[in-house]
Amino acid sequence: MTASLRLSGGLKDVVGGRDRFDVEPGRSVREILIGLGIVPDTIALVVVNNEQQSKDYIIQEGDAIRILAVIGGG
């Protein structure tokens, strides 16, 4: 079983148009972001199973992760 990750807002444009990924547990959200080519400092919010987490959260099996960027701004 893996975990699922969903990118919000304009982030999908940064990674070539996809916004849903299956990710392997055991790595941090930060590592996954870097692997996708996303600079972690552009991320405003990491939500795992509807709870806010840090970018250093270690992904567990079955996690549903949402990544919210501040690409557009106010």
Partner: protein
Amino acid sequence: MNGYGGQILRVDLSSGKVSKELTPAELARDLIGGRGFGIYFLLKEVPKGADPLGPENKMFISTGPMSGMLMPGGGKCDWTTKAPLTGGYASASLGGHFSAEMKYAGLDMIILEGVSPKPVTLFIDNDKVELRDASDIWGKGTIAVEKMFKEKLGEEYQIAVIGPGGENLVSFASINHDYGRQAGRGGVGAVMGSKKVKAIVIHGTKSVPVADPKAYREAGFALYKACKDAAGLKDWTTYGTVITEIWCNEVGALPTRNFSEGTFEGSQGLSGPTMREKIVVTDKGCFGCPSPCGKYSRSKKYNSYVEGPEYETVGLMGSNLGIGDIEAVAQANLLCDDLGIDTITAGNAIGWAMECYQKGILTKKDTDGLDLTFGNVEATFAMIGKIARREGLGALLSEGVKRASKKLGQGSEKFAIHVKGMEQSAYATHNATAMLLAYMTCDVGAHHNRAWAITYDIQVGREKVVPEKVARVIWLQNFRPMFDVLGGCRLQWVELGIDRNLYVPAFEAITGIHRSWEDMEKVGERIWNLTRMYWARENEGFGREWDMPPQRFYQEPPQTGSNKGQITSLEDVNQLLDMYYEQRHWDANGLPKAETLKELGIQELVV
């Protein structure tokens, strides 16, 4: 004309005469609406050198083809005038429900001209237009006045109202609507006050013609579905614009103690989750909005209710003043809204005064005994009132930091945080060169809404000064303000990231005219050049010097946070401007070349 109300209402306040004229079809074709209409009429009808607070200045309130239509974000209108704060171009965007009622009353624009001999309310109910005596409500706060009208006339009437700030001609007075929405920046409220217009009350029930009703329904539905399916909808709606506060602090962009730092030790107390937990009662959206960023909040500590605070207010009334209590920020927000002054400039002005106090340039003798130490909540509340009443030190601050620092001198100009006289909104730009350029070249002064490029800085490398960054800023400046032309909100595209091409069939179904985004960006470029020419027309010697950023951002690196010690050099600032002017096809002094105006087809509009 499909997608338009079809008429312009002209109100001559000096004579009391009201008249209507048809919206010119060629104007709708070339500049579409909203701020496109605004700059066209500002150039054409307000004479060169007009006093922003005199009878020659006018207020142009414009909707666009999105306004009042069933598509996400169709609740915006533009308020264009000559700015009391800057002496240049002002264009303030107002959300809520005012624009929809304008459209349903058949109006694409309301022009206020002249000066009324006594306080009045402009009352509009479809074709009924009256100027009503407002002597009994002159002096009252915006919230009480709106409540009074709603109770008297009904919830369906929409109200835009100034407070004592506008009446007293505070140069950054705002216009309040829907209790907590503002046409905020540049001093548009002071222009209303100078014309003795306390409020505009509007209601309409007319239908809006659309070119293809079936395609309109389908395209509108597709836009709403895209918003509903967006991954960020839940989080965006939960926290609204304050979602960015923690992030800004992490990346050193949170304005702190008059922008001397970009990281605030009390950030957690101002965060989106803290706000949601402590004070938010419910979400509140504008007309037709599927992703309401507005938050209706209650402070137990101050026993008060307010819409907000938005991120900008959190940044300027919170961290920028050394205040880390969300309830105090909400209360400051309420005071500003009710008195009718812009929270962004007010937070800057008080921050500047606090730094003057810290440095001994201002003392208790100047502050009527107030201890203006950073973090003093009660002194902040008191200063908001003094500004709105132009009382004591408040009279100086009511002029904005550019003029205030010039008057006070003693080196205070060095930490007056503004561009072209407009105070910077809530992103510290010590080391974010694209965002710095966005502020330097914004067409109303240091405001973020035209181009927001700080994430791009982080993606590309914050300190880099490269043509790609400049191109990004220019693209954003041409594209993002198109929502202010169309009479809509950009946040569904900005924050939810919905495909912007979904708007294209909706516009076509409404107006019958196919326009790609490339076509619309060309309109955006025309408007950008027109507003630049307006600045040049109104300000002798206008040019490169006016685009320089606050000294703090190239001379004083932050001493804390993730970008500690980092700063943009003056050389880089100049290089940014060189590249910007070149890419805009402007001359080395930052003025559009004759051939550029000709190529854009606007040379006759700027004579």
